[in-house]
Amino acid sequence: MALLEILESTAIVSFITFVYGAAAVLYWADWVFEKPVLSRSATWLMLIGFLGNTAGIVLRWIESHQMGIGRAPFTNLYESLVFFAWTIAILYLVIEKQYKVRSLGAFAAPLAFLALAYAALQNKAIMPLMPALKSNWLIAHVITCFLGYAAFAVAFGLAVIYLIKSRDVGLSWLAGALAGIAAAILTVIFTGYQTDAFWTLAGAGFFIGAGVALGAGFATSAVVNLVKKSDPGGKGRVNKMLPDLGVLDELTYQTILFGFMFLTAGIITGSVWANSAWGRYWSWDPKETWSLITWLIYGAMIHSRLVRGWRGRRTVYLSLFGFGAVLFTYFGVNTLLKGLHSYAT
C-alpha cells in the first residue's frame, strides 16, 4: 500500500501521455528510416503505456473507494478520455500482434496520446455519482461504447493508410476536406464555444468551415500529387512497407464490424439503462441521436460492400464520414448541444 500512497492515478496518467507520445514519434521514425529496432521499441513503449494506463484506471477506482464514494472510473470526460486511450491501445496491440501491421501504429499511438493530452485539460477531481448514474449498466454502457469508438478510430487509421497506399487524388481531397472540417469543429470545442451564440455564428462558421475544408482538401491532394510524381511506379520504400490494398480493405472492414457490434451493444445498454432510470428507452436526446447517426452511417458502409464495385474507395469515404460522426458524438454533442449526457462535460 505504500506505493499506492505515493503514486496518484492522475500522475501515472500524465506520465503515460508522454509514453504514448514517444511511441508515436518512434512509429513515425520507422516510416522514415524503416529500422526494425524503431518499430520494435515503439511496440514496447505502446505496451508499457497500455499497462500504465491500466494501472491508472484501477488506481482511480481504488482512490474513489478510499474516499468513501466508490464508483467505476468512467463517469466524466476526464475518465472517459483515459479509458478511450486504453481501448485504442489494447485494440491496436491486438491488431499488431494478429496482422503484423506496424505501420498502423503511426496513427493509433498519436490518437491515444491526443486523448490523454486532451484529458489533461479536464477537471480531474473524483466526484460522487448523481443518483441517475448509480447503476450497474454504467460499466457495461461505457465499456461497449468505448470499444466501439476505439475500433472506429483504428479503422480510421487504416482508412488513411489505404488512402496513402492507393494514392487516390480525389479520395485524398475528400479526406483532407473532412480533416479540415473536423479540425475546425475541434478548434471551436477547444476554445469553449457558447451554445447561445450558435445560430448567430452558424453562418460565419459555415463559410469559415467551407474555406478550411477547401484549403485542406487542396493541400492534401497536392501532397498526393507530389508523391505520385516523385515515385511514379509505387516502388518507393514507404509504399512497399504498407500492406496491400486488399488486406487493408479487409482489415478496415473487420475492424468496423467489430466497432459496429460494440456500438450496437453500447446503444442497447444505454437504452435499457435509460428505461430503468427515466422510464424511456429512447428519447431522441442529442447524444442518443448522434450515436444512432453514427450507427446508420456505418450500417450504410457495411451494406455498401454488398454493391458490386463499391469496395475500396466508397467504403473508405463512408468510414471517414463515420469517424467524423464518432468524434461529433463524443465531443461535439456535449459542447454544442444540450441533453441528458451534459454531465459528461
Binding site: G68, I69, M127, P128, L129, M130, P131, A132, K134, S135, W199, G246, V247, E250, L251, Q254, L257, F258, F260, M261, T264, A265, I268, S271, V272, N275, S276, A277, W278, G279, R280, Y281, W282, W284, P286, T289, W290, L292, I293, L296, I297, G299, A300, H303, S304, L306, V307, A325, V333, L337, K338
Partner: protein, 462 residues
C-alpha cells in the same frame, strides 16, 4: 433473334427496386441526415419553443416541414416505413435461396469448385496416400463440423464444411430491426407516459397523461408515506432520492415498497419511476405575540400553518397562516429569511392579507389596535412531494427481444463464416501430394490464414 432482354413486368420492377441494397444505403443515410436536423433545431417537448425562433418566413417553413418535431413528422415515419419495407422485400427475395442452401444436402468434393479456387496450398507428405488421407481426416475433423472423404481415380478427396447456418445470421439482424420498430409502434399506440406528484401522506389511483393532463386510472393505489433525500457523507451532493410508498391492489392486503432512481417499481404492466421531488408546503406552528395597545396586556397565540383559522385574543376576530416560506424576497431583492403568509379576519370589516417575517419582532405591525409580531416557529418542517413518472409500454419487451437478437445476429454474421475446405490427395513417388483450397463467405483473408495453418499442421504430422 432479338438479343435484348424483354423489360421486366411492372410488379417485378417495383419489387426489384425495393429489394435493392442501394435503396437501403440511400435510406440509411437519409434517416441519418434527417436525424441531424432534429439535433440542431430545438425540438418540441425538449425545451420551451417560442415562435418565431428564426425569421418568421423560416419559422413558417420549418413548422410546415415538421422540423420542430422531426422524429414524429410524417416524412420521418415514412422513411422508417420504407426502410422496413426495403428490409422485408429483401428478406422475402433472398430467404428462400439461403434456406435451401442451409437445409440442403451436404455436398461432397466438387471438382469444378476446386478448380475455381485461386489460392491453393500444395504440400508433400512423406507417406502413402492412404495414410496421408487419414492424417488429413485427423486434422480436419476436429476443426470442421462435417467431413466427407471419397476415393476417385487419381487418389482421395476430402470435403470439410462448417458454419453453414451462419448464413442465416443476417436475417436475424434484419428481423430484430423490424422487432424494434414494431415494439416502438406498439408502445406509441397502446402505451402512455404520465406524471404523479404525491405529497407525503397523499394517495392516488390516477395519473396525469400528456399535455392536456388527462387523468387515467391505475390498476392500484399508491400512497406516499415518506420522501427522503440522502446526501453523501460530508458533502452537499445528493446520493439518493427515495419514495417510501404503500401499494394497494384491489382484493389484496396493502404492501410497502421503495422507489428509487434507477430502481423503478413495475406492477401490472405499469412502471413507476422516481423522477423529481419538491416541497409542497410546511407543517408546524408559529407563535404570534399580540400587545393590546390600550391596556398594555400581552398575549402569545400559537397558530398552526394550515388553512384552519385560530381565534384572536380579546375577541378581535380570527387569524390564519396558510403558508410558510423558507426565504422571502423583498421587493428590492433582499432575502428576508423565513416568513409566513397571514390572513386577519376582523369581527367586522375587510380581511387583510400580509407577509410577516418569522422570528423578527422588530417587524411588528399594528392591526386593529394590536401590536402584532411573529416570534419563532415551532417544529416547522417541509412536507415533500415526490414526483413519480408513470409509464405503460406494452412494446418494451418486443424491443428488448429485438435488442438481444440483434446482438446475437451481429456476432454470428460478423465473426462466423460458412467455411468450405476442399482437399485433394494424390500419390506422388513414395509419398503423397496434398492440395488444399477453400472458400468462406466472409473474411476471406482470415480463412486463407486458417487454411495455411491447417497445411502447416499436416506437414508436422510426418
Amino acid at each position: 433473334m432479338n438479343n435484348k432482354q424483354p423489360p421486366p413486368p411492372p410488379l417485378t420492377a417495383v419489387l426489384d427496386f425495393f429489394a435493392s441494397v442501394k435503396l437501403s444505403i440511400f435510406l440509411l443515410l437519409t434517416v441519418a441526415a434527417a436525424s441531424v436536423i432534429g439535433t440542431l433545431i430545438p425540438q418540441e417537448g425538449m425545451a420551451e419553443i417560442h415562435h418565431p425562433m428564426y425569421s418568421p418566413f423560416l419559422d413558417a417553413v420549418f413548422i410546415k416541414l415538421g422540423f420542430f418535431n422531426v422524429y414524429k413528422a410524417w416524412w420521418f415515419q415514412l422513411l422508417l416505413g420504407l426502410l422496413a419495407l426495403n428490409l422485408v422485400v429483401c428478406t422475402l427475395k433472398r430467404l428462400p435461396i439461403t434456406w435451401k442452401l442451409v437445409t440442403g444436402v451436404t455436398p461432397g468434393f466438387s471438382r469444378g469448385k476446386f478448380k475455381s479456387i485461386k489460392e491453393k496450398h500444395e504440400i508433400k507428405l512423406n507417406m502413402p496416400a492412404q495414410k496421408a488421407r487419414d492424417a488429413v481426416l485427423d486434422v480436419v475433423s476436429s476443426r470442421f463440423k462435417t467431413v466427407k472423404a471419397a476415393e476417385d481415380e487419381d487418389g482421395y478427396t476430402v470435403y470439410a464444411e462448417k458454419g453453414r447456418w451462419t448464413r442465416m445470421g443476417f436475417y436475424v439482424i434484419h428481423l430484430s430491426f423490424l422487432l424494434i420498430l414494431a415494439g416502438a409502434l406498439l408502445g406509441s399506440l397502446f402505451g402512455y407516459s404520465g406524471s404523479l406528484n404525491l405529497e407525503e401522506g397523499q394517495t392516488s389511483q390516477t395519473v396525469e397523461v400528456g399535455v392536456d393532463r388527462q387523468r387515467r386510472d391505475l390498476p392500484f393505489a399508491v400512497k406516499c408515506e415518506r420522501f427522503e433525500v440522502k446526501y453523501y457523507e460530508g458533502r452537499d451532493s445528493v446520493s439518493e432520492f427515495t419514495s417510501d410508498v404503500t401499494i394497494t391492489e384491489p382484493g389484496k392486503a396493502p404492501w410497502r415498497t421503495f422507489i428509487r432512481v434507477n430502481h423503478p417499481l413495475r406492477l401490472h404492466g405499469v412502471s413507476l419511476y422516481q423522477a423529481s421531488y419538491g416541497v409542497s408546503h410546511y407543517s408546524g406552528l408559529v407563535n404570534v405575540s399580540f400587545k393590546n395597545l390600550e391596556t398594555g396586556e400581552k398575549h402569545i397565540v400559537p397558530v398552526p400553518i394550515s388553512a384552519q383559522p385560530t381565534a384572536l385574543p380579546w375577541d378581535k376576530g380570527m387569524i390564519m397562516i396558510p403558508s410558510f416560506t423558507a426565504s422571502l424576497r423583498s421587493r428590492d431583492g433582499h432575502n428576508m429569511g423565513p416568513a409566513v403568509r397571514m390572513h386577519i379576519f376582523p369581527q367586522e370589516g375587510k380581511p387583510e392579507v400580509m407577509f410577516m417575517p418569522v422570528g423578527r419582532p422588530e417587524f411588528a405591525r399594528d392591526v386593529m389596535g394590536l401590536e402584532m409580531a411573529v416570534l419563532e416557529g415551532e417544529e416547522i418542517v417541509p412536507v415533500y412531494y415526490t414526483g413519480l413518472k408513470v409509464t405503460k409500454d406494452p412494446g418494451v419487451w418486443v424491443v428488448y427481444s429485438g435488442f438481444i437478437l440483434i446482438l446475437l445476429g451481429c456476432m454470428v454474421t460478423f465473426f462466423m463464416a460458412h467455411q468450405q475446405l476442399y482437399i485433394k490427395i494424390v500419390p506422388s513417388g513414395s509419398g503423397a501430394s496434398v492440395e488444399l483450397g477453400g472458400a468462406a463467405n466472409k473474411n476471406s483473408q482470415g480463412f486463407e490464414e486458417r487454411v495455411r495453418r491447417i497445411a502447416g499442421r499436416l506437414e508436422k504430422k510426418e
